[in-house]
Symmetry: C2
Subunit: 338 residues, 2 copies
């Protein structure tokens, strides 16, 4: 592959001049510029990003460590992140943690080794030493969706409290009284927060959230299945299952179906995170939708601000309830979209 030296030789100039042309430095004569450009063209020369990064100490690359690529929510997040980053002149390297802290660390480590300019993380756990060290060492970093408390890192996320209150009100209005939740890992903010919000909302209706009605999931389909089975085995099973993410809702649906029960006739189901398929499941699933694309874009903007020396800002956007039919039909406060 042709290097800058080859271009210089062919154009009859020094490598410095070639570099100047490539970086559109002003003091280059038009003739030299033309000759360099011609040589670049003739050789099909492309600057070596590796060498450039070594010299300039910047890679114009962002790392994105997401909790699970198979989750459509994160996939959509990744897409909007890449889009915004590209618009700002950055590339994105995605690391998939599969909800496993050690895999998350693996990706953070290799991303750091590659000297990415900044890191976007949706932490799978309460924060490994590695990640904490990186944050303290001054690696530009922004948390998306989930975050780690007590670390001085901007957070871009959706606030689901209001939507969860709306959901509980909706369920209450439908006559449901025994509401269960399949939570995410307590180590994640979204795991604990959604339970808290749910509990608080129940309290407003003078409803309790017994321990048996809290499923301890891990944001994966299988845990949704297991939790739901545990609920169904209870002497008094819940009337509603609220899954804290879409994959666990899928698992719950599997389990309900395996028991020969029907939604919402026998048991109601709702989920956090809305995805296109929820419109077409049997029945369409009532869900809480996050402004995913906007979150991704805001996260990138915050990170790039931080990288380029501007003060980054935390952002919290509201989530909203999308009512469908998985919790019962009469649907008085219909805010759904098609």
């Amino acid at each position: 592959m042709a290097s800058i030296k080859d271009v210089a030789a062919r154009a009859g100039v020094s490598v410095a001049t070639v570099s100047r042309v490539l970086n559109s430095h002003p003091s280059v004569s038009p003739e030299a510029r033309a000759r360099v450009l011609a040589a670049v063209d003739a050789l099909g020369y492309r600057p070596n990003a590796v060498a450039r990064s070594l010299r300039t100490d910047q890679t114009r690359t962002l790392g994105l460590v997401i909790s699970d690529v198979l989750n459509p929510y994160f996939t959509e997040l990744a897409r909007s992140v890449e889009e915004e980053a590209r618009a700002l002149g950055y590339s994105v390297i995605i690391g998939n943690a599969d909800e496993r802290p050690e895999l998350q660390d693996h990706h953070v480590r290799t991303l750091l080794d590659r000297r990415i300019d900044g890191l976007l993380v949706s932490p799978t756990d309460g924060g490994s030493p590695l990640m904490l060290d990186a944050a303290r060492a001054g690696t530009p970093m922004v948390f998306v969706d989930r975050w780690i408390p007590g670390v001085d890192v901007p957070v871009v996320r959706a606030d689901g409290r209001a939507a969860i209150r709306d959901l509980v009100a909706h369920l209450y209005g439908l006559g449901h009284r025994r509401l269960a939740i399949i939570a995410g890992p307590a180590a994640t903010t979204t795991g604990s927060e959604r339970v808290e919000a749910f509990r608080d909302a129940l309290r407003e209706h003078r409803l309790a959230l017994p321990e048996a009605y809290i499923g301890h999931g891990d944001f994966q389909a299988d845990s949704g299945r297991r939790s739901t089975e545990a609920f169904l085995a209870l002497p008094e099973p819940p009337e509603v299952v609220f899954a804290a993410d879409n994959l666990m809702a899928l698992g719950a649906l599997d389990a309900i179906r395996a028991h020969g029960l029907r939604v919402p006739h026998d048991i109601a189901l709702a989920a956090f995170d809305d995805i296109p398929w929820f419109v077409h499941t049997d029945p369409p699933i009532t869900a809480i939708a996050q402004p995913t694309g906007e979150l991704g874009r805001a996260a990138v903007r915050a990170l790039v601000d931080r990288i380029e020396g501007r003060p980054p800002q935390s952002v919290t956007l509201p989530a909203r309830l999308v009512v469908r039919s998985s919790c019962g039909e009469h649907a008085p406060t219909r805010r759904s979209n098609p």
Copy 2:
């Protein structure tokens, strides 16, 4: 961030020795090794992958350019690719083309600029000059899922012909005679191939595939919607719609629903590419499943073989029909899985 020089200084050795320790070169005294390791530890030193790559001319990184991250099929592919690559000591950088050739080129270009060791591509089109040049220039490359004819690049893919024949037989057995297909872009192999296989299978039953029954989609949900609307507007609409990928099936479902029709009562639906959600749609969708994980792994193995100087092999794995209820009930040849 600490560099190899800092480590050398602290350990009281030269950078050469540090490098030797790091690369477990045999000729280093135990004492020197211990001192270096201690210094590495004390400084939290991590080798700069950028510098290393510049020197060794290898990045131990694979590029993966997929057609669409929002498509669960590709997301699963990406996951298995990353997994296998990690097992072999490589990282993966994913580029999402969003089914847009110019975006695909953008990613191929930046990946090449970063001097990735090899490229895994699922081409969005018939092959841009850039990609063709890269292949000719000897960039290690492997096509996954889709490929470009006439280029000497190994292909790892699923063969859907047999499964499509099974599907058509299934449909025919159910009494359907007017079968339509929503195809992908003709420029993609999977786009044209699936239509061909479908047409051939129809012929075996002495059925024709009129032009009006071929929807020209682009593998995105919206095109599935539009094609289906066109079908429904026909004086004699088809009895079955077969979508060449899962996103277009989703769009078809939207359109059918918008017309107030029901599947499979009013019109049957089947799709290429099976995804977990198809079990839970209303009704569960009959689909052709690819061995996605195996494809991803095989593709990585082929690429790494190529990179490391072993002869790479093309791989073709069979897809299989998964019968559910979206084409009608009586289901005689039930091969479904739960």
